[in-house]
Symmetry: C2
Subunit: 681 residues, 2 copies
C-alpha cells in the first residue's frame, strides 16, 4: 500500500499545496491545522470507538464533545470561523447543533432588541439551549399547513400554545429530543378567532434546574434514524401552555397588546435572504462533502489491485490497480471533477450573495416599501436581485446535494466489498449527509420554484421587458435565434460547451412555457418537466461557474499553467460527462448533433480519463483531508489500507470479546464475555 | 390515515387476492400464512426492539432467532421450502446464514460420498457449523489471485494450510466471525512446488467443546458494516495448519495419495450451474425486495397530504395526498411496474434454468466430454445451453439488483423527512440489501461477461453459424436489416416496443464488435461500452419477459381482463419509462425517432401514471406483505402512520429514559437513567 501511493504521487506534477491554497486560502489551511492539533490532543475527540458504538453511547459521546468544544472556545478565544472549523473537523452532528445554527440565528434575525437582550444573551452563554421547531408530524414542506396554534388572550396579554391533534406534534426538531430547554416554535397565530399564519414563538420546554419537561409539555427524542444518530431530533406536544407576550418574535410582526391588533413591520425579505444564504452554503459544502468520498475511493482504488489487464504484454505479471480500469475511472473521475465544479459554483454563489446583500442594505435604508412581501414567489421577476439569486440557490441546492449524496454512494461501491465495511468511512458520512436532500427544501419540490422563476423570466423576455441578468440574457439569446438555430463546437471550444448548456436550458424553458401558457396544462401535469428544467438550468450554472473560475485572474494568478490545464480537463470531463448523461435533451434542443455526442462519449471523455488518471491521487490530496478527519482505513494517505482494516477488526472490535455457544440445542447464546463466564436467556 | 386507505381501496377494482395468487400461487400464500402465525407466537421473533439495539445486542438476538428456527424445524417438521419461507419472513441475515446456503451446498456439490458422509451428516445436525471462506483481504473478484495456500505433504499425506501475508487473511466470511466451527476454505493447491489454482478444503477452525479458536488459527469478526450487522462476517488467518487428505473436496479434482499426482474428474460445469442458479434467485428476489419499499412508500404517499393542488377548484379545501403529484408518481409508479417486471423475469429465468438442467442431466449421462471445461468463458458460444443462460443470469443479476437497490432509496426519499426515520422500515432493508450489488459477481464487472458472450454470438452470426437461441435471433434480425433500418410503433404496439429494445441491444453489440475486432481497441478501453451494452441487453430481456408473461396462458387464465389490461399498462410504463431514460441510445440506434420519444415522455408516460394511480394501493396490496414483516410505521396497511410513529418514538425509544445535563460547564452527561440517578465521566 505505502509504496503505491508514493509512486502515484511521484508520477504527477500537481503542486498539491498550491492547489490546496487555491481552494481554501493559506489562512484557512493554517487555521485548520492549528485547530486540528488542539482537537487531537483531547481524548474525548478520539474516534476509535465511533464505528462500534450504539446509539445511546454515541449520543453521550457527542454531547461530551459538544461540551468540550464550548470550553475550548473559551480557552482559546475562538471566533465563529474557528469554531466552525472545529465542528467541521469533528465531522459529526452534535446535540448543540441547532442551538448554534438555527435558534440563535432566528433570535438574531427575527427578535426585537428587547427580545435579543432577554433571550440571546442567555443563549450565547448556554444557559438557554434552543432549537428550531417548525416541522410537525403532519407537515413539513407545507409550512402554511402547520397545526400548532398560538392563540392570543386579550384578557391577560398572553398566548396559549396548543397542539390540537397528534399530527400537530413537532417532529424532527434537532437538539430538542434530550438537550434543549427552549424552542423557537412556529405556530399559527390566532387573534380573535382569525388565523394570521405561522409565526415564531420562543418557548421554554424544560426546567432550567432539573431539565425535566415543564407541565403540559410532552417532549422527547423521535428515535433512531438512517444516520444523524449523534443528534437528538425531537418531538414536542403542547397541552394549552400559556406564554407571555414577549415570546412572539416581533421584528416583522407583532400583536399590539393595547389594541389586540396584528401589526406588520419591517422587511421580511431578509428572512428569504437567510434561506438563500443557507442554500448557498449547502452548494459550497457539497463539493467538500463529496471530496471526502472521492479521496477515500481514489486512494483505495490506486492501492487495490485485482486481475491482470487482458491486453497486458506477456512479460508483465502483477495485477492492475483497479483505478486503471476505465469502468472504475468513469465512476470516479467525473466525481473528482464535480468536487471542483461544486466548489467553484459555491464560491460564486457566496460572492453573488454578498454583493446582493450590499445592494439590499442600501435599498433597505431607503425603506423601499415594494420589498414588503412575504415570499419569493411574490417578488417581481428580475426586478428583484433576490429573486434571481433565490431561484439559483434553490436549483443549485437541489442539484449539488443530489450529486454529492449519489456520488458518495458511487464512491462506496467503487471500493467493492470493502466499501461496505464501516471502516471505509464512506457509509456513515453518506448516511449523515442524506437528509440534506430533504431539508432546506426537498430537492424535488425546489425545482418547482426554479421553474416558476424561469417561466416568469421567459414571459418577461417575450414581452421585451426582461431585466439584465444572466437568466434573461440566455433566454433572449435563445429566443432571438429561434429561426436560426445554433452551432456549438462542444468538443473544440470550452465556451461553446457552456453555451450549449445555456441553449438546452433555454429550450426547455420555452417548451415548458408553451405547455403552461399556450396549452394551458395543469401545473401538476408539468412537475416532471419542471424537474428536468431546473436540473438543466442548474447544470448550466455549474458548468458556467466552473468555466468562469478557470478564466478568472483570481485563479490563474494562483496556480501554474500545467495545473490550470489539468483543471480545464476536469472542467471538460465534468461538462461532457454531464452532457453525455443528458444527451437526449441536448439532441432534442438541437444544441448538438448525434455525431458530436458520439464523439464526446467514445473519444473525448475516454481520452480525458486517461489524461487525468495519473494525477488522480494528487488531485484528491489537494483537498487536504487529514487522516484523523477521514477516519477511513481505505482512504489512508499512506496507503496502509489492509493493516488498518485488520487492526480495527482484530484489535478494536468489541464483538470479538464474546464467545458464543453456537449449537441450536443449547439455550446459551453468549458463553463468555471479556473473560467472565456468562449465561443468559 | 385509516379511512384514506379504505377509500383508496374502494376506488379500485383490482382483485387483490387473485393477483396475489398469480404472483405466488395459493399454496405458497397458505404456507406463508401458516408459518407467520407460528413465528408471531414466539417472543424471540418480536421485532419491537430491532431498530433501537446496538450491534452486539442485535447479533445476540439474531443468534437466538436462528436457534429457535432450528427447533421449530424439528417441531413442525418443516421441509426446505417451509424453512426458507420462515427465514424470508424473519427478514434479517442470521449467523447460520452461510452454513445453510453455502457450506452445505458446497459439500453437497463438491464433496465425494465419503466426504458427505463424514461432514454433511454432522452439518445437517448442526454439530458442525460452517461457512464459505473464499474472499481474502486482498482478493475478492479475482479468485485466481487468492493467496492462501494448501500445500500437499507427500510424507504424511496431509495438506498445510497457510496464510503467507496479511492480505491472505480470509475476510467477509459470513457466519465465521463468532459462530462457525468449520470453514470451507478456498486455497491454492500446491503439489511439489507447483500451483494448481484454488480448491476447496474443509477445515475445522474452532474447538467443538469450548468454541475457542484452534491452535495457529486467528479468527474473528471483521467489525461493523453499513448493514448486515446481525451477521458475523469474519476473518481467518492460518499459521501452517495441518489438515488430513480427506479435507480437500474431491468430486472434481483430488490429489492421489499414492502417486501425489493431481487428478481431475467429472464435470465442473455443474458448479457454474449453481452460480447461474444463485444469480437467477437474485433476479427473482429483486422484485419482492423492491416491492417492500414500494409498498411502504405507496401507502405512505397515499396517506400523506401536503399542499393544495395549485389548480384545484376554489371550493375544494383539503390538501392533496402527495401520491397525486406527478413528480411523486414518476418516482414511484415505474418502480411499482418494475416489481412485476422483475418478478416475471425471475420466474422465466428459473424456468429456463430448470429446463437446461434437465437437458444437461441427459447429456451428462452420456458423458459428453466437451463439457469438461473450467468456466463459462471457455464454453463454445451458443453451442452450450449454459453459456446463454449464464450470460443472461450475469446481466440480469446486475440489472435487477441495481434496480432494486436504487429503487429502495428512491422509495425512501419519496417519503420525505419521515423516510429517514428507522421506523420507515426502508433504510435498514436497503442497507442489508446493498451487498447484493457487490457479491455473486460485482455488478460492474459482470457486464464484461455479458459483453463477451454477446460479442461471441455476434461473431457467430456474422460467420453464419449462430445456434438457434434468442440472442442470435435478434442479432441476425438486426444484421439482416442493416441496409433497411427499422420502424417500430413503440407507442401503439407492445410487441414493437419489445423489438425496439432488441434493436438497440443489437445495435450496441455490433458497435462494440466493430470497436474490438475492426478498430482493435484494447479491452480496457471498451469497459464502459460493455457496461452499456450489458444493461441494454438485460433491459431487453426484462421487457421481453414481462411482455411474454402477460401473453401466456399461465397468466391470462388466472386473472380477469381488467387486471390483465392494468398489468399491460404497467408493462408499458416500465418499458417506455426505461426507454425514455435511455433515450439517447434509442435515437442513436435508430430504433425510434425524436418525435416518438417526445410523445412517449410528454403524453404516454404521463397518461399511464394517471391511469395506474387509482390502483396503486391495491397493486402493492397484491404483493401481500404482512405488517409484521414490513415492520414499518409508514407502510402500515391500515394507514395509521402517525399513531405508529408516535408510539414507537414516545413509548419504545430507550433514549427517552435518559435525562441529560445540557450545560457545557457541567461535566455530567447523563443525569438520570430510568429512574436511577447516575453521574458519569
Ligand atoms: C435529519 C433531519 C433533521 C431535521 N431537522 C429539523 C429541525 O431541526 N427543525 C425543523 O423544523 N425541521 C427539521 N426537519 C424536517 C425537514 O425540514 C422536513 O422533513 C422537510 O422539510 C421535508 O418535509 P416533509 O418531511 O414534510 O416532506 P413532505 O412534504 O411530506 O414530502 C413527502 C413527499 O411528497 C413530495 N411532495 C410534497 N409536496 C409536493 C408538491 N407540492 N409537489 C410535488 N411533490 C410534493 C415530496 O417531494 C416528498 O417526496 C428535519 C428533517 C430531517 C430528516
Ligand atoms: C456483506 C458481505 C458478505 C460477504 N460474504 C462473503 C462470504 O460469505 N464468503 C466469501 O468468500 N466472500 C464474501 N463476501 C465477499 C464478496 O464476495 C466480495 O466482496 C466480492 O466478490 C467483491 O470483491 P472485492 O471486494 O474483492 O472487489 P474488488 O474486485 O476489489 O473490486 C473493487 C473495485 O474494482 C472494480 N474492478 C475490479 N476488477 C475489475 C476489472 N477487471 N475490470 C473493471 N473493474 C474492476 C470493481 O468493479 C470494484 O469497483 C462478502 C462481501 C460482503 C460485502
Amino acid at each position: 500500500g505505502e509504496d503505491v501511493l508514493t509512486q502515484e504521487r511521484a508520477g504527477s506534477n500537481v503542486p498539491v499545496e498550491q492547489l490546496n491554497e487555491l481552494l481554501f486560502t493559506r489562512e484557512v489551511i493554517e487555521r485548520k491545522r492549528r485547530i486540528l492539533g488542539i482537537l487531537k490532543s483531547h481524548q474525548v475527540f478520539d474516534k476509535s470507538q465511533n464505528y462500534f458504538s450504539g446509539r445511546i453511547e454515541r449520543f453521550e459521546r457527542a454531547l461530551a464533545r459538544e461540551k468540550k468544544l464550548r470550553l475550548l472556545i473559551k480557552e482559546h478565544n475562538w471566533d465563529p470561523d474557528e469554531f466552525r472549523t472545529a465542528t467541521e473537523l469533528v465531522s459529526e452532528p452534535g446535540p448543540y447543533g441547532l442551538h448554534d445554527s438555527m435558534f440563535k440565528v432566528t433570535l438574531d434575525g427575527q427578535g426585537t432588541p428587547e427580545q435579543q437582550e432577554m433571550f440571546l444573551t442567555l443563549a450565547n452563554d448556554y444557559k438557554i439551549i434552543g432549537c428550531y421547531a417548525q416541522t410537525e408530524l403532519g407537515h413539513g414542506s407545507n409550512v402554511r399547513g402547520l397545526e400548532t396554534t398560538a392563540t392570543w388572550n386579550p384578557q391577560d396579554k398572553t398566548f396559549t400554545i396548543h397542539s390540537p391533534h397528534l399530527t400537530a406534534s413537532k417532529w424532527w426538531i434537532g437538539s430538542l429530543g434530550r438537550t434543549a430547554n427552549y424552542a423557537c416554535v412556529m405556530a399559527q397565530l390566532i387573534i380573535n378567532g382569525k388565523s394570521h399564519g405561522p409565526h415564531p414563538f420562543v418557548v421554554q420546554v424544560r426546567d432550567m434546574k432539573t431539565h425535566e419537561p415543564l407541565e403540559n409539555i410532552h417532549v422527547g427524542d423521535i428515535g433512531p434514524k438512517f444516520g444523524y444518530n449523534t443528534m437528538d431530533n425531537g418531538f414536542l406536544l403542547f397541552n394549552k401552555v400559556k406564554i407571555p407576550h414577549i415570546s412572539m418574535l416581533a421584528r416583522f410582526s407583532r400583536v399590539d397588546p393595547a389594541t389586540n391588533a396584528y401589526v406588520r413591520q419591517g422587511s421580511p425579505s431578509l428572512i428569504y435572504g437567510t434561506l438563500t444564504w443557507v442554500r448557498s452554503t449547502i452548494v459550497m459544502q457539497a463539493g467538500s462533502v463529496l471530496a471526502r468520498g472521492v479521496t477515500i475511493a481514489t486512494r483505495y482504488c490506486a492501492v487495490r489491485r485485482q486481475f491482470q489487464d487482458r491486453d497486458a504484454p506477456q512479460g508483465e505479471k502483477g495485477e492492475s490497480p483497479v483505478l486503471n480500469y476505465t469502468m472504475v475511472q468513469i465512476r470516479l473521475l467525473p466525481l473528482l471533477a464535480a468536487t471542483f465544479a461544486l466548489h467553484f459554483t459555491g464560491a460564486a454563489m457566496m460572492a453573488l450573495y454578498q454583493e446582493s446583500q450590499k445592494k439590499m442594505n442600501t435599498r433597505d435604508a431607503s425603506k423601499d416599501s415594494s420589498m414588503r412581501r412575504p415570499g419569493p414567489e411574490e417578488t417581481e421577476s428580475g426586478s428583484d436581485i433576490l429573486a434571481d439569486l433565490h431561484a439559483s440557490s434553490c436549483g443549485l441546492k437541489a442539484l449539488s446535494s443530489t450529486i454529492a449524496a449519489e456520488g458518495l454512494e458511487a464512491c462506496r461501491r467503487a471500493c467493492g466489498g470493502h466499501g461496505y465495511s464501516s471502516f471505509s468511512g464512506i457509509g456513515s458520512w453518506y448516511a449523515d449527509y442524506l437528509p440534506t436532500i430533504t431539508w432546506e427544501g426537498d430537492n424535488y419540490m425546489l425545482t418547482q420554484q426554479v421553474a416558476r422563476y424561469l417561466l416568469k423570466s421567459a414571459r418577461a423576455v417575450l414581452a421585451n421587458k426582461g431585466p439584465a441578468n444572466d437568466t434573461t440574457r440566455i433566454l433572449s439569446h435563445f429566443h432571438s435565434r429561434s429561426e436560426v438555430g445554433c452551432a456549438f463546437d462542444i468538443i473544440g471550444s470550452d465556451s461553446d460547451l457552456v453555451d450549449a448548456f445555456a441553449w438546452r436550458a433555454s429550450f426547455l424553458t420555452f417548451e415548458a412555457l408553451k405547455h403552461r401558457d399556450e396549452h394551458k396544462k395543469p401545473w401538476n401535469d408539468l412537475l416532471v418537466d419542471f424537474y428536468r428544467l431546473s436540473k438543466a438550468h442548474s447544470q448550466y450554472m455549474v458548468t458556467k461557474s466552473f468555466y468562469e473560475a478557470l478564466q478568472s485572474q483570481a485563479t490563474t494568478s494562483k496556480i501554474n499553467t500545467d495545473t490550470l490545464e489539468l483543471l480545464k480537463k476536469l472542467f471538460r470531463l465534468f461538462a461532457l460527462h454531464t452532457l453525455e448523461q443528458e444527451a437526449s435533451e441536448f439532441y432534442a434542443s438541437g444544441a448538438c448533433s448525434k455525431h458530436q455526442i458520439s464523439l464526446a462519449r467514445t473519444n473525448t471523455v475516454m481520452r480525458l480519463l486517461k489524461e487525468i488518471r495519473p494525477h488522480a491521487v494528487k488531485l484528491v490530496d489537494a483537498w487536504g483531508f487529514d487522516d484523523w478527519v477521514l477516519d477511513s482505513s481505505l482512504g489512508r494517505s499512506d496507503g496502509k489500507v489492509y493493516e488498518d482494516m485488520f487492526y480495527r477488526a482484530s484489535e478494536l472490535n468489541p464483538l470479538n470479546r464474546i464467545t458464543v455457544d453456537p449449537y441450536p440445542d443449547s439455550a446459551v447464546l453468549f458463553r463468555r464475555v471479556e473473560g467472565e463466564v456468562k449465561s443468559k436467556l
